[in-house]
């Protein structure tokens, strides 16, 4: 069991004229939920397609459960459940019929497929729509049909390409919960370009940008170091010049931005030096300077900021 579920070494994929994945290496341990985070065009789908034996790599080796994805495709394909981007389904089939068809393709016997289909229908709360035609289902239901298909043959590894794209907040929550529940029994690799999604579901994160891996760590480490070290935002009452002078004099503060809002209130955005969390200090300063304080929060990083931040730290190193 010590052997990793996925082992990618020096993977490169070149399409005619451009490099989609550049010399990427990573491993995914068994039982992890790993998020592949990156903007559109970062090479996420390409990596997932190579892992699922749909595309060959230009160079490098990829092993899933110890099997090479190019040499032992059948062994690999038996062990994975893959849901591609946009979740393509046969829209003319009924839900139960489709899942049974997929189960049979994946090598389940007639009796086993019947049992498994019933089980996954229940797991994905699809039982009440099992006789409906897939084309007539809502996006949320379709997404769950895709998930049910990915896990119908109890694969060791589930690969999901943008599993929550285009869902409304309620559907989003239920699909994320489902993924989390699945993570107890299966290894999951999912791709997304939404930062909060990774924080909500994944135990590990790989950050991908322009075909290269920028960071790879447990989610909590990245959260501490990168995601949550956003600027501190405070709303205070004082004159702009006083605030400007005061904050410029503090050694912990790197940048200051002051925007007047309603009345005398000023919205102050401060970034700390070396990712320092300024919020306790701001409270302290507000008390000592006798500035009324009505809000104190920290701004969340967008994916954009994370990339800027990581690339900057890389350059400094």
């Amino acid at each position: 069991m010590s052997e990793p579920m996925i082992e990618v070494v020096n993977l490169t994929k070149r399409y005619a004229g451009h490099l989609a994945v550049a010399n990427v290496s990573f491993t995914v341990g068994r039982g992890q939920i790993v998020g592949l985070l990156g903007p559109n065009g970062a090479g996420k789908s390409t990596i997932l397609r190579i892992l699922s034996c749909f595309l060959p790599a230009t160079s490098g080796t990829v092993r899933v459960g110890g099997f090479d994805v190019f040499e032992q495709t059948d062994e690999v394909r038996r062990r994975i459940g893959y849901m591609p981007e946009n979740n393509p389904l046969h829209v003319d089939m009924r839900v139960r019929e489709y899942l049974k068809f997929r189960a049979r393709l994946k090598g389940l016997s007639l009796a086993a497929s019947r049992d498994r289909v019933s089980t996954v229908l229940e797991m994905c709360s699809l039982t009440e729509v099992d006789r409906r035609i897939i084309g007539q289902l809502s996006k949320g239901f379709r997404q769950r049909v895709g998930l049910a298909d990915a896990l119908v043959h109890e694969p060791e590894l589930i690969i999901l390409d943008e599993p929550t794209i285009g869902l409304d907040p309620n559907q989003l929550r239920s699909v994320r919960q489902l993924i989390k529940d699945l993570g107890r029994k299966h290894t999951i690799l999912l791709s997304t370009h939404i930062l909060p999604e990774v924080e909500a579901t994944c135990s590990h994160v790989l950050i991908l940008h322009q075909g290269r891996i920028l960071a790879s760590d447990a989610t909590e480490n990245l959260q501490r170091n990168i995601f949550q070290s956003g600027p501190a935002i405070a709303e205070l009452t004082a004159s702009t010049s006083t605030l400007q002078e005061f904050f410029a004099a503090q050694s912990e503060v790197e940048t200051v931005d002051i925007v007047p809002t309603d009345g005398d209130w000023k919205r102050v955005t401060l970034t700390g030096r070396d990712g320092h969390d300024l919020r306790p200090l701001i409270h302290q300063w507000a008390c000592t300077q006798r500035w009324p304080l009505r809000e104190l929060t920290h701004g969340r990083h967008t994916l954009e900021d994370v990339f800027v931040k990581i690339t900057r730290t890389e350059k400094e190193e």
Partner: protein, 251 residues
């Protein structure tokens, strides 16, 4: 084998549980009906010892059916799956490329043969109402004609699958198979028009002529050279289809 049968069932369902399927069936019915109307006056004339199937084969509708319907039947096979993305979900399950190609081919061929069933009904009807029917109608000739239709059909269906595997667009798939299908058909006519050629040219063009080979079947003759001709053409197109499907792994 299990995978093949599962896929075949799915293919048959996609042909029969679809609007296009029934549009094709009605078009074939209409054209077959016209061909019977065309045949009736011929049978009303002097007594003839030509088999009915041979007379049917001589009507223009036979080739119209063969050339016009097969590209529509086969255009979806690969192109649609590639377009909607289900090709990706299919190829990431443990299925072999050969199973996929064969299932799609046989699915389309079975549908093709089903559309020809009314022909048998018409022949039976004619048999009922002709005098001394035994001479003009022999069920063995009919079966033999069906064999010929099946063999020629498999060439065209395999060609259509090949065209469909080349592209993501059903329209392009249909256009390519129309182009190739009609070209092969016109090449067959080369042995007859513009002027019958003598010598080796005539021989070559007769050998590669689809029409020449099929005529034997409609007379009730099964010649192994005809069998080999159609089967090898089918085999060639299926092989090409398989290579196109495999080619995603070379890119």
């Amino acid at each position: 084998m299990r995978v093949y049968l599962t896929l075949l069932r799915r293919e048959l369902a996609s042909h029969f549980v679809s609007l296009t399927g029934y549009v094709i069936i009605s078009v074939v019915l209409l054209l077959l009906g016209f061909s019977i109307l065309d045949m009736l006056p011929k049978l009303n004339g002097d007594a003839t010892d030509t088999p009915i199937t041979r007379i049917f084969y001589a009507t223009v509708y036979f080739w119209m059916l063969m050339l016009l319907t097969t590209p529509i039947m086969t255009m979806r096979t690969f192109a649609q799956e590639k377009f909607t993305g289900t090709f990706e979900t299919l190829m990431t399950t443990p299925v072999s490329d050969l199973e996929v190609v064969l299932a799609k081919f046989t699915g389309a061929l079975i549908f093709f043969m089903v559309t020809w069933l009314p022909l048998g009904g018409y022949m039976m009807l004619l048999h009922q109402y002709t005098n001394q029917a035994a001479t003009a109608f022999d069920y063995r000739t009919l079966l033999c004609t069906y064999l010929g239709i099946g063999l020629l059909g498999s060439v065209y269906v395999a060609l259509g699958c090949f065209a469909s595997a080349l592209t993501r667009s059903q329209l392009i798939a249909a256009a390519v198979s129309y182009g190739m299908g009609i070209t092969i058909f016109l090449l067959s006519l080369r042995s007859l028009v513009p002027i019958p050629m003598a010598g080796w040219q005539a021989k070559v063009f007769t050998y590669i002529s689809l029409t020449e080979h099929l005529e034997d079947f409609s007379r009730g003759i099964i010649d192994t050279s005809n069998l080999v001709f159609y089967l090898s053409l089918t085999g060639m197109f299926l092989f090409l289809t398989l290579k196109v499907v495999e080619s995603r792994r070379w890119k």
